[in-house]
Amino acid sequence: MTGSRHWRNQRISAVALVPLGVWFLYALLSRPDLAHASVVAWLADPWQAGLMLLFGWCALWHSAQGIQVVVDDYVPAQLHGRARLASRLLHAALALILAAAIGVIAMAGNT
């Protein structure tokens, strides 16, 4: 990916995360409790589950972009490629687990 595309994508995820991040914190902490049943009931609503997935994916995308910049700045050339790859794989794995978890919770809340 070119540097300017990376720069632009990082701004896209940043702009998206301003409202999504505030929404996430509000949705999470405005609940009277965070017991299991309460979290399941929250994510049983498809809109809430969808927003949660959107927030989680934007946050992980932004995290991958940020860590890539840190790797570019500090990791010496011999390890640079491997460090970049490791970060990408880790973020992709987290994004998959996140989607699967939200899906399972949403289905559990609707049965």
Partner: protein, 138 residues
């Protein structure tokens, strides 16, 4: 050494020691550090949701870790870091749009970011039922 084995010469960031620390320098470094801490926080978020997907038993197991005092303090720290990174991120976006570059504006917006982050952090701790529940306030 064979030149073909030599890794591509890529510029690395200069060593931090060559700079005199200024307020704006500290804020800039904090943006990167808080970003890395939030990356770690995202792993906790995914683990928490995965535990919730696993059912009440696995959720209870992660819950007892998250509600322990050392982790409560870490979570409060993550909350502070979240607000700082969010407000300073907005400051960065304003710079990207081409505003606020002179030293006076950069120092002033930096002070505002610290103020807003502190206020938002305090309000989140004091006013949200979810946080009160987590720290066991009846």
């Amino acid at each position: 050494m064979d030149l073909r084995e030599k890794p591509a010469a890529r510029p690395l960031s200069p060593h931090l020691q060559v700079y005199r620390l200024a307020f704006t320098t500290v804020l800039s470094g904090m943006h990167r550090i808080t970003g890395l801490l939030l990356s770690a926080g995202s792993v906790v978020l995914v683990a928490w949701l995965a535990a919730a997907a696993g059912g009440p038993e696995s959720y209870g197991a992660i819950g007892s870790v998250l509600a322990s005092w050392p982790v409560r303090i870490l979570l409060a720290g993550t909350l502070a870091v979240f607000w700082y990174h969010l407000f300073n991120g907005i400051r960065h976006l304003v710079w990207d749009a081409g505003f606020g570059f002179d030293m006076r504006a950069a120092r002033g917006s930096g002070a505002l970011v610290v103020l807003f982050a502190a206020l938002a952090f305090g309000a989140t701790l004091a006013l949200t039922p979810g946080w009160r529940w987590l720290v066991g306030d009846p």
